[in-house]
Symmetry: C2
Subunit: 422 residues, 2 copies
């Protein structure tokens, strides 16, 4: 017998017919002798609908009232899943964020879970009752509804799993696991049986949007074993114990599993970045700080940064990337600081893509970056910027070359499946 | 300066554009120097949508989970109205049922308000903040969401008004007050400036669906002055102090206002009743109890009851009315008890209408019923059953004659407006 937290996303919860499929999967887990809690998202599209209402009501909306409105989507699906499980003869009840409670810090619309009172939850699960918990929501010390930011239900699930000391947190999504790369681009992409927290973090943050990044960080910090699974399986599928999802594990666990693993685990791509070049910035101490301080204050996430030597002595060109959605805002902020920074021109390009090669294996092996640069050069793909971390090498290229680059690299690192549909 | 609770129904809250109109009306009240709390319904159609989800999920739904789902509609509109008021520069916040809290008895899906903790609410209103409260919802002693039954937001508004000792509870609806009869039937119907609680109860329960009956009972019990108003007024309308709605007052207050008032205040009609006749029921003690006990146990509301002398000695025909929606169920229950009751046939007719003449004036004046019977007889309208209370006379007639009967009686009691569009 194990204690399992299961999480279902908006596509799985979109309407009562799909909720019935979810309930069948949940019931099967309980019937296999496990203690089960379920964390649910709002119906697909519902959160967008509610966010739009808020924007229409007040473009500069108060995040506390925004939370009151948008948290309702998960409230609805948690009640409906409890009802559906009851209709199948299971004991079930919903536990809203303020009922458990799921206490969060008071950053409305982007709160973080502080702690979850698990006593009632564990008692209910031990008594054979399925606990249904709306994801995304919590309650502040002031007793007001908070939400965890878009995609926050993954984080809710991991937080609940940590609180009840679950043996596993199963995240059911519309993909059936984590792949070596996007299978829509590379038909020979392989599903990974295991991936480490760190690899998953890099894959998630560079565009393989299977899990919310924060949920992976939390799982790593709290040591929660997370499995990514598909909720679109047949009625006769085996219980999740035997399901071929992807398990996210620690470095140590991974070493025990796979001593001979590949240097590179996966290739990710991200078309949501934009490139900004500031030309002829004075090459003196503090100049770069003048660029990035205002962006940080505006919560604009700057990613790759490259400083080139300028054409004139004492000047330099600074290149960096920001999320495309923030490009206009970033440009306006920089124009405001033109005199202080002292640049000549702003050149922007949103038709760029970031391609990343990720793998814990590269910690102990050199040559991964060199392989990447050569493979791309051989196909004539120009690299506009480079950034690296311990387990990742990223390059910025022309957006039109995204698919080609991903395919080339997938082959170069030996990731192609032996036999798959072409 | 007064303390005013305003309530807006689903039609007024249907979409952000309409919510903006509501916010303008609310702001005007506050600008006039009043302390304001607002109780809101869900967007028109939303509660039906949520109820349908519950039925699809589980036809025999657990009312505790049903409440979790359906209470979300008012949660959304309360947050949106607070946001909209903030966008207009007002201080505003939402107070959910569990936050105030609005404590109710634990009858899920049909709860009754036990008490409302008004301290925080009054403090906020005194500080110039507009309190926005979702109607229809409360919280049980067990800390779970409860709802007050369909139309419960009217009751929420009156309960809030009682808790904060409001000077007035203004119920904004899609009609602009209470009329002497349905203006769609009688063009010369007049809007009443005042109506007593008892009259309003009778008018509401016999088909003039302006307010939920329970809200009127509660207002009477707690002495809350309720005004019915239209929310579809121009932007340049005066504050509600001067609005020509209908004020619901006590008998005593009414005597001070209108010493020379009419015997009859209004004519109501109700096409939702069905007539049941059981023939040749044994005329012995306990026989009638056998009929009505099973109906009461099934929560079927029996209204008019008439016992005729049967054709044979020792036998009687029993006629009564039930809501049309319960007719099939009532029939099945009675068939089950056929032997115990000992009747011969069940005859049913759902093509009937109940016409009621209502007025506190008739307490001290005879002849009201006689006038009714004569006016109907003069037009050849056959009376199938009669029931009376202190302030009401109701008759059951053929549904096809509803409009004719209402017009005839409106004229007979001198209620027609002097000059109105024909």
């Amino acid at each position: 017998m194990a204690r399992i937290v299961m999480k279902f996303g908006g596509t799985s919860m979109a309407g009562t017919e799909r909720i019935r499929r979810v309930a069948q999967i949940v019931r099967k887990q309980q019937a296999a002798g496990h203690e089960v809690a379920v964390v649910v998202s709002a119906m697909a599209g519902e959160t967008d609908r509610l966010v739009n209402f808020c924007r229409e009501a007040n473009p500069l909306y108060d995040p506390a009232e925004y939370d009151v409105v948008v948290a309702s989507g998960e409230q609805v699906t948690s009640g409906l899943l409890a009802l559906t499980l009851q209709a199948m003869g299971c004991k079930a009840r919903s536990w809203l964020g303020w009922q458990l409670p799921v206490r969060t810090v008071e950053a409305h619309a982007n709160a973080r879970v502080a702690d979850i009172d698990s006593a009632a939850l564990i008692a209910a699960m031990r008594a054979g009752e399925i606990a249904v918990i709306p994801g995304f929501q919590g309650v502040s010390d002031a007793g007001r509804i908070t939400t965890l930011g878009r995609g926050g239900s993954d984080t809710s699930a991991v937080a609940v799993a940590a609180a009840v000391e679950a043996d596993r947190c199963d995240i059911y999504t519309d993909v059936d696991g984590v792949y070596t790369t996007d299978p829509r681009i590379v038909a020979r992409a392989r599903k990974l049986k295991y991936v480490t927290y760190e690899e998953m973090l890099e894959l998630a943050s560079v565009g393989a949007k299977v899990l919310q990044t924060r949920s992976v960080s939390l799982a790593m910090k709290r040591g929660v074993r997370v499995q990514v699974l598909s909720s679109f399986i047949g009625d006769d599928a085996p219980p999740a114990d035997d399901l071929p999802g992807t398990m996210i594990v620690s470095d140590e666990e991974m070493e025990g599993i796979d001593m001979e693993r590949q240097l590179v685990t996966g290739i990710a791509h991200d078309k949501n970045e934009a490139r900004v070049v500031l030309t002829r910035v004075p090459d003196k101490p503090g100049a770069v700080a003048h660029i990035f301080e205002p962006l940080a204050q505006a919560s604009i996430n700057v990613d790759m940064i490259i400083q080139n030597v300028g054409r004139e002595k004492g000047e330099t060109d600074v290149t960096f990337t920001v999320p495309q959605a923030d490009l206009v805002r970033a440009q306006a902020l920089l124009e405001d600081k033109r005199e202080q920074i002292g640049f000549n021109r702003i050149i922007t390009d949103s038709k760029v893509a970031k391609i990343s090669v990720v793998g814990v294996g590269m910690k102990s092996h050199a040559g991964v970056a060199a392989t990447m640069f050569k493979a791309l050069a051989d196909r004539g793909i120009n690299i506009q910027a480079i950034s690296t971390s311990e387990i990742k090498v990223s390059v910025l290229i022309d957006e039109d070359e995204t698919e080609l680059a991903v395919r080339v690299l997938h082959t170069a690192y030996g990731l192609d499946a032996e036999d798959a549909a072409a």
